[in-house]
Each structure stands twice: as structure tokens, then as C-alpha cells.
């Protein structure tokens, strides 16, 4: 099975947009055992697009096209599809109803131009797009699949997951020679090399057989290290069992550092843990500026354990809202173990939650003090039994620091609740 990805849009060619759609589709097609053998980015130019359609249709079994499906004048992909498949436009009532409903629920009159989005080439199967207005289009002909998706990433992803990938999986299940399964384990606050050391031989694992291969990859990014297991095998059951046996080996060595093995975030893992233990939490934030609370509330149902949070950016606010003693800040500074401890106790008591968490540090780029570099953060933890603070030093980049500091604060709570001491 040979597949190709065609990305349409001048904005990609001139480097205004990075082509993340192609990576997403590339990895999806790869897992389906229909790896992309080529990715081609094209201008918003009818002649060029049709030329590539012809050669793609000739050389590949699966063609996935992204971009140029919106309502405005510069979106010409659908026109090219209709022409390429000599297919008339038909009005798709279901799509029209959906597009109308999107404007209706926002109490906005649907502009006439959007009616066009309900016009689809008769040759195409419509793939529902609940994430936006432009539907996906799929043509299944001569045992080939030609699919067109919007360029907006979350719409493209929605249609791929709900429509395209399941369709391809079903259609080609018996034709693909290799099935590829991947599993990614998430860790935070432990370096790649330390992780590798703890894994020992497992960390170097690359098992090969006549009809299977197991690979392990370390993927570090901003103080998180993802461990990716990639298994290719002849059948799905075989692949799954290889993934599971490898997973067991790894967990045996570093289980406590793995906060998720299902693409979950630290806030998702911690949220589930808090729910299970029926604990409530509140955050007192300085350098993270609300990001800890924001991450906690990214999880649906977080109202079960998040009561409130305080962003005490100014010292004044630390005193007024959290009861940090003026003397403490004066003597040790706002970025100190002592201030972090008082912030954590203060938020826990004032919010009347089981756990209080705090973060005070220097996000940068400015603000460094003697022995207090940019990237330094003190994270405080307090519950009715114990109160402590830990310090970490991250990068010199403000946004990366805020993100790493907030995640680390959540990881500190996770480790405490599971009595993981390291």
C-alpha cells in the first residue's frame, strides 16, 4: 500500500505556517501500515493542484489532501476535486444543517458564502466535521482512496480520527503486510540520561525477528521525557502483545516516574488521583501566573477537586491574599523556601482545601538575583500532615519556564500522594 500527502496552501510554501498537519497524517498513516512515501506542498494554484492530483492518483493507493476547503475565495481544493473526478456539485442537506447550526448557536446570521460549504462533489462521501464548518470529502474508486481534509489542524484531526483513519483501517485491514503499534510513556522532572541509566539494558531495547520489530525511543522536551515504544508485526494481536510485554519490562524499572501511558497529561493523571482519593486542592501562584490553576481546570470535571486559586503576582498580594508575613519576604525574599511554604499553608487554610500548592520563582528574562538565577522556582506543598518545599532550576525562556514550573508543581503533588520520594 502506497500513500501520499498533498498539503495545499501558499502560507506553507512561504514559511508562514509550519506543516504540522503532514506530520500528524504521516504518523497516522504509518500506524495504519500505509506509510506516506511522499509529502508534497503545493501553492493555491488550480493548474498545479490538478497536475499533482493526476500524478498522485496514478502512483499511489491512498491520497490525502489538506487545505483549501474554507468558504473564502482562496480556497479552491474542492473545485479541483470536482473537476478531477468529473463530478457535479450536489447540496448536502446534512452539512447545510450542521453549518447553519454552528452559526445559530452563536446567534449569528449565516453569511451566504457558507452555503457553498454544503455543496459537495457527487462522487464524494462526506466525512462529518463537528469541529468546524468544512466537511471532509472521501472518494473511494478503483480500489483507491482519495480524501480531502480542511487545513485547520483541529478540524483536520477530528475528521481523520472519526472518519478517515477508521475508513482506511476497515478497507485495507487484510491488505497491509505490517501493522505498527505505538505506546508512549510520559515522565517529568527526570533527565533522559538518568532515565536511561535506570532502564539499563531495557533502555537499549531493539528486538527484531523475522516478522516483527520492537523499538524504544527517548523523546525529551522541556523537562518532560517521553518514552516511545514502536512495534511492527504481522498481525494486530502479535503487535499488541509485544507492546504489552515491553511496557511491563519498562514499568518494572521506572514505574514511579511514569505519570501516563495513554497520551494523558500530568493534570489529567493528578485529577484522577485527587478524585479517587476525594481530595481538594488550591494553588497560590506567583511566577506561574495562574498556569497551575489553568492546567488543573483543563480537565473536565475538575470542579470536583479545584475550589479556587490565587495569583499573587505582587508581594502585596502575597501578604493580603495568602497571609505571607512581611518579615518573611523582607528577610528571605519573595523567591525562597520560606515564602513558598507560607504561600502553600496560606492557600490551603484560606481556601479550606485538603492540599495547598504554591510556586514562586523567576520566570525571566529579567529578575535574576544573587544566587537566584532565571529559571529558579520554589514549589511549596501543604496538607494537614506535612508541609514542605522543593526548588528546581529550569531554562532562561519565560514561557518554557512557566510551563515546566506549573507541570512540576503538579508532579510534586502526584509524587507526594503516591509517597514517591526521590
Amino acid at each position: 500500500m502506497r500513500s501520499v500527502i498533498l498539503s495545499i496552501g501558499d502560507e506553507v510554501l512561504i514559511g508562514q505556517v509550519v506543516n504540522t498537519n503532514a506530520s500528524y497524517l504521516g504518523s497516522g498513516l504509518f500506524s495504519l501500515g500505509i506509510p506516506a512515501e511522499k509529502i508534497i506542498t503545493l501553492p493555491d494554484n488550480e493548474k498545479e493542484i490538478l497536475k499533482e492530483f493526476r500524478s498522485a492518483w496514478k502512483n499511489f493507493d491512498v491520497i490525502v489532501v489538506t487545505g483549501g476547503l474554507g468558504p473564502t475565495h482562496d480556497d479552491i481544493t474542492k473545485k479541483c476535486v470536482a473537476e478531477f473526478f468529473k463530478s457535479e456539485y450536489v447540496l448536502n442537506e446534512k452539512v447545510l444543517k450542521h453549518v447553519k447550526s454552528i452559526f445559530a448557536r452563536r446567534h449569528i446570521q449565516m453569511p451566504a458564502v457558507n452555503i457553498g460549504q454544503a455543496l459537495v462533489p457527487s462522487a464524494a462521501i462526506v466525512l462529518e466535521n463537528k469541529a468546524g464548518t468544512a466537511p471532509g470529502l472521501l472518494i473511494d474508486k478503483a480500489d483507491k482512496v482519495f480524501c480531502v481534509l480542511p487545513g485547520v489542524p483541529y478540524e483536520m484531526k477530528y475528521i481523520s480520527e472519526k472518519g478517515l483513519f477508521p475508513y482506511l483501517e476497515k478497507k485495507y485491514r487484510n491488505k497491509v503486510k505490517r501493522v505498527v503499534k505505538q505506546k508512549t510513556l510520559h515522565t517529568i522532572g527526570i533527565g533522559e540520561s538518568l532515565l536511561a541509566a535506570k532502564l539499563g539494558d531495557i533502555g537499549r531495547i531493539v528486538r527484531k525477528g523475522r516478522d516483527y520489530e520492537v523499538k524504544l525511543a527517548f523523546l525529551p522536551s522541556n523537562y518532560e521525557v517521553r518514552l516511545r515504544i514502536t512495534v511492527s508485526a504481522a498481525t494486530l494481536p502479535k503487535a499488541n502483545s509485544l507492546v504489552n510485554s515491553t511496557l511491563k519490562l519498562i514499568k518494572k524499572a521506572i514505574d514511579k516516574f511514569i505519570y501516563s501511558d495513554d497520551e494523558g497529561s500530568i493534570e489529567k493523571t493528578l485529577g484522577a488521583l485527587l478524585k479517587k482519593k476525594r481530595l481538594t486542592i488550591s494553588a497560590a501562584e506567583s511566577c506561574t501566573g495562574g498556569l497551575i490553576a489553568s492546567k488543573l481546570t483543563d480537565i473536565a470535571g475538575s470542579s470536583a477537586y479545584v475550589m479556587d486559586g490565587i495569583v499573587s503576582y505582587a508581594d502585596k498580594a502575597k501578604k493580603r491574599l495568602l497571609g505571607v508575613k512581611p518579615g518573611t519576604i523582607k528577610k528571605y525574599g519573595a523567591v525562597s523556601r520560606e515564602t513558598a511554604l507560607e504561600m502553600a499553608v496560606g492557600i490551603r487554610k484560606r481556601s479550606d482545601t485538603d492540599i495547598g500548592i504554591s510556586a514562586t520563582g523567576i520566570a525571566g528574562p529579567g529578575g535574576a538575583r544573587k544566587n537566584k538565577p532565571v529559571g529558579l522556582v520554589w514549589i511549596g506543598y501543604s496538607d494537614k500532615n506535612i508541609t514542605f518545599a522543593k526548588d528546581f532550576i529550569f531554562t532562561k525562556d519565560r514561557l518554557r519556564n512557566k510551563d515546566a514550573m506549573a507541570k512540576m508543581a503538579l508532579e510534586v503533588v502526584r509524587r507526594q500522594l503516591l509517597s514517591i520520594n526521590n
Copy 2:
């Protein structure tokens, strides 16, 4: 002048690596007036690579290839170049000296395999790579330029900036008929199609002349729409004046919706505005869960105008921390104009800031009530002269809602400070 970018590497095809190299090169070639008309990603496969080399050499004036120059076995680009140009390998002493020095500095014995990096096709000019071991290779023949760069981003960038771009600029200075200038305008809270409607004919603007072209593109993402003006003209002054005249036309129609025309974020624009007006702000957040404060504090120096923030997730917290009247929540609900107003006034007074902003809504996926759908948010604003609240309805997706609601809250403040009423 027509150029093409060839990216070589299986890791890009299977989505393990996002092709940021292509965007970097695309924007570089674009501003040189030699825009890439195609970007093609290829596998590490000699046959495929040579095939693309042939068609690229036939159809384009400038060919830029990245990837496959490292020392390892799967890096076959150089081999293909030598074969394609029927060119022998010669040992380049300068490169060898450089590669040796890199290992020497790290006190590492240079592996024999790295000697190969000093072997270059005789037809090629060597472009120095101070950022790594693999040099860039440039073939200038038949008035065409064929250039090969390493795939490691910072090495690719180094050689492009120091070697490739200056070479192209010099060579084609008098041949490039077109200078290209771009301007991107940022809007929020107004849809692509609505924007197009407000722009009318301007929205369809693609003016062409014998020696110039003006294009307008809509780039939507989660309730933000970027408007990109692209002008190509014979001379820089001509291009600039066309950008400015187009900008004037657009601003005349939708000026109030444009929060930035220099790639800035809404938090950056608002931050500068608050600083200029010497105003302070504090946020009371329910559905956004801290994201408004986090965005505000994403900007370095925000401590000049951000004092603190309250995440009043639970109703209890709205009453205790913000002084929202129990009766108000009981009578109108937590998601209501009345509650938003009391939250905004409450945070302003308690934090003693010039402006208080509030957000209370339903991020979803659950929590919808009669006449209160998922995606509904009430944003409250309060300063010493005026207090008001506006409602908006966004999507059904929790994270997209939080992001859109937080940005919209900042936009509401921006519009108020500039007395933009819509």
C-alpha cells in the same frame, strides 16, 4: 525565478519530526524574491531521490535539498548528488581540519566514519558549517543553483544565513523581477466569513498589474483570523506603497477588529496599552480557570500592570473571595450577566486595581443548562467609570473554549480602552 525545496528523511514522512526546515527555507527564499513553488518530502531512498533531482533540475532554477548529509549509513544524499552531477569525490582538507577540530575540542577520538564528511563531489562549492560537521554543498551550473544542506535545523540555518542566502542574493540580484512584501493583520472574535462580508470587495482583492500583484489571504484559527497581505512588485518602494495602500483600505473597513499588525499576541497588545495608560488590572476567573491571568503574565514586565488574580471556580469562592452576593448566584445562576458584573467589581475593589475583568461560563463538555449552552461565557468589565458585561458563545471543546474565552476577555478590555464599541 522558480525554486523548490526537497526534504529528505523517513523521520519526516512518518511524522516523527515536523518539517520546520522547509518553513525556514520557504520564508528565506520568499523574501529573496525566489519563492518556493513546491516542497517535497522524500524517503531515504536513492532511486526516489535521483528521480526528484532530475525533475527538480528540469523544472526549477533553484533547488534546495535538506537532510541525509550525516555520517551514518542512511544518509545518502551526498552520494546521490555525486551521481547526479557525474562528479568524483575529492577530499576537502579544510572540511577535514574542521571536523577533526570539533572532536578534538570534545577530547573525543574522531571515528573513521567522519572522514567521509570531508569527501565532497568535485563539482560542488563547499559552504562552511561552523555549527556542525557536515558542510553545505552548492553546485552552480547552467545558470541554476543546486544546494544541499544538513537536516539538523541549527546547522541548516547557519549555512543558509552565512552561505546559501548571500550567494543567491548576489547571483540573482539583477534577475529577480519581483520584490515581495508581506503584512499580517490579527483579529479576534470575528469569523472568517463575517470578516469577508465586512470587507466586501476588499476581501476579494487580488489586484494585478503588468509589474505587480496584491493578494489577500484569510488564516483562521480558534476565533482568531489573520489577514495576510502579500505584495510582489518590481521595486521595494513600489511594494511598500502597495502594502500601505491596501492596509489603509482594510483598516478603513475593519480597523477596530485588528489588534495587531506585527505578529503580536492580544496579551502583548493589551499589555503595551495598559503600560502606556499606566493602568493596573486584575482578573476574576471561573470557566477560564486562571488562563486570563496566565496570558497576561506571559509578557515580560507584566508585573507593571498585573497585581493579582482570583480563580473562583466554586460558587463558595465567588462569594468569599469576590463578594458576589449569594442571592445573585441563587437567582441568576453562576453563569449570568449579574454574576459576571459582581465578579468584575469585586476583583477591582479588593485588588485595588484600575480595571477588573471577569469570566464566568461553561467550558464544557458538560454543564450546559436551559438557555445556557456549552461555550457560553459572560465577560465582565469594571473600572471607576463604567461596569458592563458581554456574552459570547464559542465551541463545544473545553480547551478551545478556555483559550477563546480568555483571549476574548483581553480583547474586551482592549476595545473598551480604545472606546471601540461594537
